[in-house]
């Protein structure tokens, strides 16, 4: 390659770079568009400004181990004290949670709703809309994994929240305790304490309590088993269950564990109940008080009550 004068190419009228190969081959000079070039210089200047304003370079040459930048953020520490620190995303989040307009409105609304009774919320369209919308988010993230998006639960695993039956009580205070502390439901397995016949008998009896058509002789025998072999201890002699133990009411037509609703004939229903009597139940609802705020739990209670209405 040789260097010569930049000349104007006679055919195109464009300038060449002055680079010449093999005596005649020249290269057109195609400079970057001005706007592009200046934008490029702009980014370089931006980098310098950014480097100085924001946390940038990890180095022991400055105190603290990195260049913290000139920009600062002031937020309130949990202690209530105002803290001013160099710009960083953690402080930015703390500040946003304290000053952002929408966030403050959210907090205020959560607080208001948490302090309002369910009846009042149901009568107030603003509040009930907020509970339904905001509660849906919390419910969807924390509850729906088990109780399903609509609160209908899964028979055999997780209770339905939108029917009238509540294992651990269905008024606001009960539901709040359930969410706050969690619940552990435990029914012992009876496969060793009861004979196969006894299990079938007691299953017939349990089905008869809900008005299912069963063998009346078995049901009669099952009543004896129910009352003498420990069932009535938790489910009470009349079979209505006890809120304090979370033992199910066996006299309604609602099934949370035995897959009776999907059973097609009487034998299948007896088998479904027998399986539960024989294997027992162990289920657990996690405690949420360490994960959700008090007010959020209250909103959730109101959401569930609105769902169930």
């Amino acid at each position: 390659m040789a260097h010569e004068e930049k000349i104007i190419d006679p055919i195109t009228g464009a300038e060449t770079t002055g680079h010449v190969w093999d005596e005649t081959i020249r290269e057109f000079n195609n400079p970057l568009p001005r706007w592009w070039l200046w934008a490029f210089y702009g980014t370089i200047i931006f980098t310098v400004v950014y480097f100085i304003m924001y946390p940038s370079w990890p180095t022991n040459l400055v105190e603290g181990g990195y260049m913290k930048g000139l920009k600062t953020i002031t937020y309130k520490a949990d202690s209530g004290e105002e803290v001013t620190t160099h710009w960083n995303t953690r402080a930015l989040l703390a500040k946003a949670m304290q000053t952002d307009e929408l966030e403050l409105r959210r907090q205020e609304m959560v607080k208001t709703v948490a302090a309002t009774s369910i009846d009042e919320i149901a009568a107030d369209s603003d509040k009930s809309q907020f509970v339904l919308a905001y509660g849906k988010g919390i419910f969807g993230d924390y509850c729906a994994a088990c109780h399903q998006a609509g609160g209908q639960g899964v028979i055999g695993h997780y209770p339905n929240l939108i029917d009238d039956a509540w294992l651990w009580g269905g008024d606001a205070a009960d539901i709040e305790t359930t969410i706050r502390k969690g619940r552990k439901g435990n029914m012992p397995a009876h496969s060793s304490s009861l004979s196969k016949t006894e299990i079938t008998q007691v299953a017939n009896y349990v089905l008869s309590l809900s008005g299912e058509q069963v063998s009346s002789a078995d049901a009669e025998a099952g009543k004896g088993v129910f009352n003498t072999k420990g069932c009535s201890g938790c489910h009470t002699p009349t079979g209505v269950g006890m809120k304090a133990l979370g033992s199910a009411n066996l006299t309604d037509k609602i099934w949370t564990q035995a897959k009776v609703p999907s059973a097609t004939d009487a034998a299948a229903k007896v088998a479904a109940v027998s399986a539960i009597v024989s294997g027992g139940i162990q289920r657990e609802m996690p405690a949420w008080e360490s994960r959700l705020s008090d007010d959020e739990i209250k909103v959730l209670v109101r959401y569930i009550k609105l769902l169930a209405q």
Partner: protein, 251 residues
């Protein structure tokens, strides 16, 4: 002055100068990181011990299954300090919380939700059912089934070897009496026992029995280990005991 042309026509020189030019960025950005202190938060509990501990033997084996199954392809373990993430997932992840992860499971993509604080969020029974067949509890889920976790016995033949390997890269599992004593100082007696490589197997079996994660006490399955791991994620730091300002100063 060296001419452009003489560099371009000298391949060796061109390579050397090119390498030097492209190394500058890396050197300036990466090398200082090896020399600074204070990127990892110091998080102490009420007893003045470290809140974040290395995984127990069972949890570590569960973590290995987590990586084996590629969970990180769809699930991140990194809650960023944004409002929406704070509202959905909880407190942002601390560097301290993944300091014993080798490699970390921060992930880069969320097809499923972030799992950094999934510990304690659902019951173990739920996890078992969900891993076995996700759609049985979340109908709209596109997560695949992992039915073999329940059926496969947990392979812990190389458990001590794994812990020793992790020890080599800085995870404070203990082999000697001195190391055990150091762990007692750092984490407290109860945790130090869990980090003792010599008792790894006993600890593992004990935790699996006590946790009964897969609801089948007769079998030590891969499910036991994975659920034990999932249930500890994000639970080591009790944020209600800390002032937010403590963590801000580390950034």
């Amino acid at each position: 002055m060296m001419k452009h042309e003489s560099i371009e026509t000298n391949a060796g020189l061109l390579i050397v100068l090119t390498l030097a030019a492209i190394s500058i960025g890396g050197l300036v950005e990466i090398v200082p990181l090896f020399h600074i202190e204070g990127t990892v938060e110091s998080v102490k509990n009420a007893e003045g011990k470290d809140s974040v501990r290395p995984y127990t033997a069972l949890e570590q084996l569960g973590r290995d299954i987590y990586t084996r199954e590629g969970c990180y392809n769809c699930h991140s373990q990194m809650i960023r300090p944004f409002r929406d993430e704070a509202l959905r997932y909880g407190h942002y992840s601390l560097a301290a919380e993944s300091q014993y992860d080798h490699p970390f499971q921060w992930g880069s993509k969320r097809t499923g939700p972030d799992l950094a604080r999934v510990g304690g969020k659902y019951s173990s029974a739920w996890h078992v059912q969900h891993l076995n067949q996700p759609t049985s509890v979340v109908p709209e889920s596109i997560m695949p089934n992992y039915p073999w976790l329940l059926e496969t016995d947990l392979d812990y033949s190389d458990l001590q070897g794994k812990m020793k390997a992790l020890k080599k890269v800085g995870v404070p599992y203990s082999l000697t009496k001195e190391e055990y004593a150091a762990n007692t100082d750092q984490f407290g007696e109860d945790v130090a026992k869990l980090l003792d490589i010599n008792r790894a197997e006993t600890n593992m079996v004990e935790q699996a029995k006590k946790g009964n994660y897969d609801k089948n006490p007769a079998k030590l399955s891969e499910m036991d280990a994975l659920v034990a791991y999932l249930q500890v994620l994000g639970t080591m730091v009790d944020f209600s005991k800390h002032d937010e300002a403590e963590f801000v100063q580390f950034r």
